[in-house]
């Protein structure tokens, strides 16, 4: 759908400079590690060098004897009696009886300088009794695997499974066996993906301060200051409202900064050190060893297809490990796996399994990329087998508004078909391919999310607007919220300032996650603005001596609604604001809710690549992202989300993985070895923004942050098959692996 037909807005859909641009190109923007306070101490964390070990004894006496060392904390300093998720968070913050993975924090120390803290950390003696460990998901659920934690399984797990299986799920509909019987071709394959890291360039960093009265403050880089507050308070046994958390600018998160790692330690150390502020900045190696990675997956998929491409039955069984704690996104992976297909007969089975690895955190569309890799790879292979066009097969089986999703409920408004049609029309599909070159196609899906949202806005004395939001701005959300508020008020974009505020300034907000900031914060900001507009209309009505209902808001001014209201010249926002002190006081608007009307987003990618048959190296030649945005508020940042997501997916497909040695230690905990895509690996990333407006948002926004990481995994595997005729079923497809597959051909 052409944008011009739909877009009648003045500002929404334009590309103004972002409000924080100047600070960010001059080095002035303050990120997590840039914050300091007078009298501040620095902390270092002692981490387990073992994948699985009993902690026999911790002796910090030598460290504490150093001049300038002010405090040491171990698990013994934290409250006991936590359960469920809160226990998991506490256990991950500091190990209790056992260290559960290489890099698991065991103790922390604060001293007058960073170098001294590091020296003190080396002097803390920890006696371990090394236990057998397990790293890979299939091993972890096999008989005889070391038990990571007894009794961690939730009631959904059937009897007889290994205690490392902590969650089991099963859902579907129809009769898959009958579906397979109806098919002309039934194929079944197994796939694996390895754990990857979000790879934000900014390491975790915070400054925490807490006194003996348990009142605290924290400055931290996070996607969600209220999550940090709630989780830190739980881990430390303090009251949430006594902790004030201020988010810094954030140097990337991708889901990995929606939870706590070392943040509570800064508060615990500060309290022990007489309330002096304590700064903790992770090293890159700590980031890779102890934060965020996503799950690794082992997956079986079976699909039945007729010769015309109709899918008659589909079954997925996914096993994922998400580290030493429950929470691998196997549920989301299964929900997304077949989301693009209209299916009568479908079955899903999933296992969440513990292994001796760091606690997984959300990573962009958690679970969806793995599921898509398995399903979209198999669908592609079946299209090849039946000599069918893979795009037509997606269109044929593709879900549309009102269809029943593979995971149960019916879809609201969705734009998969529009996305697929836009792909077909794109010139990249006409590009000629040479020898060892191939083209791959795949579809991806993400639900998008609403979440708790609280926004406050106020009109300034000069008729400008300030908006307080609780979702940290990672990729331009201040610009998009400004656009929406300015559009609603009918004032220039520059007249709006959006501030990301601390926990003391608003009600609870969920983090910037689930692609929700522009949707949920934007929707709440528009609602809050409507509240202020209503008040401004009321003030104008009082001034004119007419009914409130007889006033409407247009073009940045209160206007008499229709000829019967009376003849008054429009009263501009500036005029109303200038007088507000004498007409009833400040004018503001608030909105608190879990906004409904979330719109899901489908995307489809097309990649052209070349395989070097000598080395197995893959070069991306062309890359196309087509995705439904609902409405692009600031198209540049929508494109940016598409491009960034695609490139993270490319890294996952081709290079990135957690590599463990035989002792269960992470073998690649620096960027040199954990290789993320660099500029010279890539071509330009072409984008097409499809806009099928979401009726649940005042401007039609769906949320665009996550879907884009999903299709690259299968699209690249499909393109490699197209180029050289080998089917890669285990990511990453790095040169040695691909070369071996070529040799085995």
């Amino acid at each position: 759908m052409a944008k011009d037909e739909l877009n009648t807005f003045k500002l929404v859909g334009t590309r103004p400079d972002r409000p924080d641009g100047l600070d960010k190109v001059t080095g002035r923007a303050r990120y997590g590690a840039d914050f300091s306070l007078p009298g501040m101490l620095h902390a270092a964390v002692v981490r387990s060098p073992h994948a699985h070990a009993k902690i026999v004894k911790i002796d910090a006496s030598k460290a504490l004897a150093l001049d300038g060392v002010k405090a040491v904390v171990t698990r013994a300093d934290l409250p006991t009696g936590l359960t469920g998720d809160e226990w998991d968070l506490q256990e991950n913050t500091l190990a209790g009886e056992k260290a559960l993975y290489d890099g698991h924090a065991v103790a922390a120390v604060a001293a007058t300088s960073k170098l001294l803290a590091e020296e003190a950390a080396r002097l803390i003696e920890v006696e371990y009794e090394v236990l057998p460990h397990v790293i890979h998901v299939d091993d972890a659920m096999a008989e005889g695997a070391p038990v990571i934690r007894e009794g961690a399984a939730d009631p959904t797990v059937p009897e007889g499974l290994h205690p490392n299986v902590v969650k089991y799920m099963e859902f579907g509909r129809g009769d898959v066996e009958a579906g397979f019987a109806e098919a002309d071709l039934v194929m079944e394959k197994s796939y694996k993906t390895e754990a990857t890291h979000q790879g934000y360039i900014e390491p975790h960093a915070c400054v925490g301060q807490m006194g003996s009265d348990n009142k605290g403050e924290m400055w931290v880089c996070t996607q969600g200051q209220w999550f940090i507050r709630k989780m830190s308070a739980a881990v430390l046994g303090i009251e949430a409202s006594q902790l004030r958390v201020t988010p810094s600018e954030i140097g990337g998160g991708f889901g990995g900064k929606t939870t706590i790692f070392m943040e509570p330690l800064s508060l615990a150390l500060s309290k022990k050190a007489g309330g002096r502020p304590v700064k903790i900045v992770m090293t890159r190696s700590e980031v890779l060893r102890a934060t965020g990675p996503t799950a690794s997956a082992s997956m079986d998929v079976k699909i039945g297809m007729k010769t015309d491409g109709t899918i008659t039955g589909a079954r997925a069984e996914f096993r994922m490990q998400g580290g030493a704690f429950p929470g691998a996104p196997v549920d989301m992976a299964l929900y997304c796996a077949f989301a693009g297909y209209k299916l009568e007969n479908v079955q899903h089975i999933g296992y969440d399994v513990l292994a001796n690895r760091p606690k997984c955190a959300a990573y962009r569309a958690p679970g969806s990329p793995m599921g898509a890799f398995a399903v979209e790879s198999l669908v592609d292979e079946m299209c090849r087998e039946l000599k069918l066009d893979p795009i037509e097969v997606r269109i044929k089986n593709g879900v549309q508004t009102g269809d029943r999703a593979s995971y149960g409920p019916k879809f609201g408004s969705i734009g998969l078909k529009e996305v697929l049609e836009a792909v077909k029309d794109h010139p990249n599909l006409q590009a000629e391919l040479g020898p060892n070159q191939g083209r791959g196609f795949a579809v991806g899906y993400w639900f998008n999310h609403n979440g708790e949202t609280s926004v406050s806005m106020a009109i300034g004395e000069d008729g400008t607007a300030q908006v307080s939001v609780g979702t940290p701005d990672i990729g331009g959300s201040r610009a998009s919220v400004s656009l929406m508020v300015a559009e609603t008020l009918g004032i220039p974009y520059e007249d709006v300032r959006v501030n990301v505020v601390e926990t003391g300034a608003l009600g609870v907000n969920e983090p910037t996650h689930g692609s929700r900031a522009t949707f949920a914060t934007g929707k709440a900001a528009v609602e809050a603005t409507q509240g202020a507009i209503k008040e401004m209309c009321r003030r104008a009505a009082a001034e004119w001596g007419i009914d409130e209902e007889a006033v409407e808001w247009a073009d940045g001014a209160a206007q008499p609604a229709g000829p019967n209201a009376g003849k008054f010249p429009p009263m501009t926002i500036k005029e109303i604001a200038a007088k507000m002190g004498s007409t009833g006081g400040p004018i503001s608007g608030h909105h608190e809710s879990v906004p409904d009307g979330v719109g899901a987003s489908f995307g489809a990618h097309v990649v052209d690549l070349e395989v070097d048959p000598e080395t197995g190296r893959v070069t991306i030649l062309r890359y196309l992202v087509v995705q439904d945005a609902g409405r692009a508020i600031h198209p540049s940042y929508v494109e940016g989300q598409y491009q960034g997501g695609a490139v993270q997916g490319i890294g996952w497909a081709l290079n990135e993985e957690y590599v463990y040695d035989d002792k269960g230690r992470l073998a690649n905990s620096v960027f040199l070895d954990y290789r993320v895509p660099v500029a010279s690996d890539l071509p330009m990333i072409d984008t097409v923004i499809v806009e099928v407006p979401n009726p649940g948002h005042p401007f039609g926004v769906r949320g665009v942050g996550e879907t884009g990481i999903t299709p690259p995994l299968p699209a690249i595997a499909n393109a490699i098959h197209d180029a050289v005729g080998v089917r890669m079923t285990h990511l990453p497809i790095n040169p040695p692996k691909l070369l071996a597959a070529l040799k085995a051909k």
């Binding site: 400079d17 972002r18 924080d20 641009g21 100047l22 960010k24 190109v25 001059t26 080095g27 002035r28 923007a29 303050r30 990120y31 590690a33 840039d34 300088s113 960073k114 170098l115 979000q198 790879g199 934000y200 360039i201 900014e202 390491p203 600018e249 954030i250 140097g251 990337g252 998160g253 991708f254 900045v281 090293t283 890159r284 990672i474 990729g475 331009g476 600031h634 540049s636 940042y637 494109e639 940016g640 989300q641 491009q643 960034g644 997501g645 695609a646 490139v647 993270q648 620096v670 960027f671 040199l672 993320v676 895509p677 660099v678 500029a679 010279s680 690996d681 890539l682 330009m684 990333i685």
Partner: protein
């Protein structure tokens, strides 16, 4: 450890500080001089977020010791604009939305500035290889490359 007195010229100003010999130039800039624009993404020379010029050479300041800067000039992101006049690269980065989180931006701008000094008319490929040591996790590089090439084009016109 005894600290060492270091005398440097940073962004044109004479600056002195005391450095522990174990501290990197990046640590000294951030912790002793108060210039936090240069970022630490890795501390191992792999991400380029700490890029500065040392006597005109582009370096990762996390790989240089603070004491090595003695008697040398250091140019950081904080010195890139002239007063309120942004360098064309800085303007183009904002205009092209070449940053999302912005954490890689200072290092990339410093590195790109050097590129345009040695090669005022880089091809896309040259730009990509020059910036291969600067990781950006957010943007997929597309808009960064466009911004650099557009700034180069504008600067060539100004010169001509």
């Amino acid at each position: 450890m005894t600290k060492v007195h270091v005398q440097t010229k940073i962004n044109g100003d004479a600056v002195e500080f005391l450095a522990d010999p174990r501290e990197t130039l990046l640590d000294c800039l951030r912790d002793h001089v108060g210039l936090t624009g240069s970022k630490e993404g890795c501390g191992t020379g792999d991400c380029g977020a700490c890029s500065v010029e040392l006597d005109g050479t582009l370096v990762c300041s996390c790989l240089v010791l603070g004491v090595e800067a003695n008697g040398k000039t250091v140019d950081t992101i904080e010195g890139m604009a002239t007063g309120n006049d942004l360098h064309p690269l800085q303007r183009k980065f904002i205009e092209h939305a070449a940053l999302q989180c912005g954490f890689c931006t200072p290092g990339i701008l410093v590195a790109a500035k050097k590129l345009l000094e040695v090669n005022p008319d880089p091809t896309e490929e040259e730009t990509r290889y020059w910036l291969a040591g600067n990781l950006c996790r957010c943007t997929g590089y597309d808009k960064i490359i466009r911004a650099v090439m557009d700034a180069a084009a504008e600067m060539r016109q100004e010169v001509a």
